[in-house]
């Protein structure tokens, strides 16, 4: 089947199998920044923002996302013009292997959009669906704190 999506602000038209997940379709169409960690909705590595809402893209049928707005980490900023969350993750040492990072940054963005000045507890709750096995989360939480300070300063 065919479907049109708005991915990182750009309208695209993709064809895919009816049972394909949003993760499959994104990865097949030039978005390898969306990572497959478990394919069962438990690790969070495939998180994207779907119409602004954080979802595990491995648990969403692509067909159900037609005409919706999909944001991946590549749509937040680039290596030449990174988003403050991306630089905060870099500066705090919140990235080791980086496999969870794109999803972790999107989960953080979803949090900061709804709650620009989160407490540590808010941050922990918001990131609970995203596993990281490398960092022990300490510097990830610090990164979100730093980004929150910087982003509110710009508002």
């Amino acid at each position: 089947m065919n479907g049109s999506f708005v991915v990182n602000g750009r309208r695209v038209e993709w064809s895919f199998e009816p049972e394909a997940t949003l993760l499959d379709v994104l990865r097949a169409n030039g978005h390898p920044e969306v990572h497959r960690g478990c394919d069962e909705g438990s690790c969070g590595a495939c998180s994207v923002l779907l119409d602004g809402k954080l979802v595990n893209s491995c648990q969403v049928f692509a067909a159900s996302a037609i005409d919706k707005d999909v944001l991946t980490v590549a749509g937040m900023g680039t290596i030449h013009e990174p988003h403050p969350l991306q630089t905060a993750f870099v500066e705090t040492g919140a990235i080791q292997c980086g496999f969870c990072t794109p999803a972790m940054i999107l989960a953080s963005l979803a949090l900061l959009r709804s709650n620009p000045n989160p407490t540590d507890e808010d941050i922990r709750s918001a990131l609970d669906g995203n596993y990281c096995r490398c960092t022990g989360y300490v510097k990830i939480i610090e990164a979100v704190r730093l980004a929150s300070r910087r982003m509110s300063a710009h508002d």
């Binding site: 497959r36 690790c43 080791q96 292997c97 022990g136 990830i140």
Partner: protein, 773 residues
Amino acid sequence: MTELTIVGKSVEKVDSLSLACGNARYASDCELRDPLFLTFALSTVPHGDILSIDDFAARAVDGVVDVFHAFNTESPLFSTAGQGFPEPSPYDTRLFNRRVRYVGEIVAAVLAESLEGARAGAKAMKLEYSTLPALFDPERSMDSDSPKLHDGEDAYAPLPVAYRPEENVAGEVLFSYGDIEKGFSEADFVVDETFRTHQASHCALEPHNASAYFDEKGRLVLVVSTQVPFHSRRIVAKATGIPAHMIRVIKPRIGGGFGGKQEVLVELYAALAAWKHKRSVRAEMTRPEVFTSARTRHPMRVRIKTGVKKDGTMTAMDMNDVMNSGAYGAHALTVLSNAASKVLPLFNKIENMNFTGRTVYTNLPVGGAYRGYGATQGYFPFNQHIDGISRTLGVDFLDFVKKHHIRVGETSAVFEAIGEGTEGVSQIVRSCKLDECIDIGTREINWHGLRGKRITDGPLVKGIGASVAMQGSGIPQVDMASASMKMNDDGSFNLMVGATDIGTGSDTILSQIAAEALNVPLEMIIVLSSDTDLTPFDVGAYASSTTYVSGRAVLTCAEKIRDQILSVASAMTGTPLEQLSLAESRVVNRATGEETSFSQVACFALYSKDQFQIQASASFTGVESPPPFMAQFADVDVDTETGKVRVVKFVSVGDCGQAVNPKLAEGQIEGAAVNGISFALAEQYLFNKNGGMTNNSFWDYKIYGTLDLPEMVTVVVESDEPTGPYGAKSVSEIGINGPAPAIANAIYDAIGVRIYDLPLTPEKVLKAIRSRA
């Protein structure tokens, strides 16, 4: 020593912005033209001979191209353990074994035009087995009447090490010194305890995977999620028969390893299928397959018996380990060795010592390398045992440790006695700040305010516990690393290393070492790791070796480059060498103050006279393995009504030598500590009566998330290791050793019951509380 300018600074990890922006590519992101997909069929019986394989239905599935299995694919015996050659692990497996030995063993690989087709094909495979009695209890595996897994001629050890498949013994480590009986007879009391550590999964977020394709000359390129690209090429060649020179292994970014990817697994089958069909192949384990069919932490039973005098002298220690290797012997000998060699030297004043260790086969998932590598299994009993002894003596645990631990200038007979498949290497400790680590941790956890106070809050009782550990820095006289560098005309340098950054930050710290030696800003070092065609050899990311071993190779290489720069500058300007020294990106004539930029030097060498490129390579093998040290502390609340243990605060204080990048060093400790806490409290393998894992998903195998975290405090204490690059040792593994014993010691502190078996589940704690009452 001159002031360090880049080493010792928490510069940003060189690959982190690309990872944050989604630019970085992992093995499964490799673009393949018209790939085939490969999936696995797994054994459903724990032990049995395959009588027949019916792949007719599988081949009939739409899109299925081929099916590989024991009846159509020959391979020699080999080991999947990604170790040096010859491997200290037994050669006891083939690509497909005619006898299967655990539920989850790969019995077929199905190749299809689509992933769905390959999965449907795998599901359609029909195998008939003649089942054999299964062995699940490692402590009974050496019994004469137990089923034997590898008896007969179908397995051997390539090194001259003890290997007795007829007894299910996959590895054996024995040593003693002094007179153990005399030691025990001199003791005022003897403590004899038995502990058990459990199986665990690495849970790297990126599943094991490989992508295979052919280059324009018909060579096979394998893009692999691996910690050991050079071992991977060697072992793929051995197992599949593809000539090694026709294989190129590329390591892109890796989504975590922790030892799990020190194993050559998925790429074997991707290579086999791609080579036969001359097509690109994508192969990836599912998460359940990673749990059951990749590798795990070896469970271990440790009996530890110590003779003690009333004055605190330990007169004898006898340690007896039985390690469960599961169905195959990957790392069977060496993880066991490390349970002794990384643990016993810490208390080097015990004059009479005996160690008896055996690794045994069972019909369960296979053990392998896992961060800590046996030390984790050894320190859980060791620290609890010492906590108990110090309590019996009425001495503070930390004071007791300080009195007994190894110090600068001292050695241990264990270093020389136990190596990895060979004898060990004698060494003296040249840097150790364990006392400082203990003192800092004591303050951070409020040891004196909380230890033994049993502060209660309703059903909650607080306890404080600690543990100490050491590790190593590479395998001495075994691990080798190489680096090469070349200078570009703008004064930048390409640094090529076989050292394998799997998320640890080794690209960054090796660049820092090169930049420091050459006195250039970090961005003038362009690092590439690791590619068997382009980068020199390195054993890979394991044994806490990269900073120390690969770091020394990079340092030596950079020093050679520095000498060449000075000599070109001397010829170029007609200045005697002795008069020249390096300043940032330039050579300075100390007599005249005249400066020549690195760019001018490089251009002169490349274009002007007696042309050559400034370039060098270097290799390094450690003759010693300087241990990092760590003290870890847990503040726990034990719920006496439910048995639930909550870690409130966790403190890690480590001596890793000079931290090349303190923030990355901290990150290594934090990650290891949280993995260790999760291992101690939350993670466990559950099996059905066939030895099949029943909780092979993240839904049922719990690992720590953000809501589970205690307050974490991590302190890096710097020491100067004279043999290390700029004083560095290692840091990546050690932090996982201490959480389980520190928490167990804290539970004892809270409720006066000792939990001897991991994991420390509410059921066990509650049972222990009730049996005490």
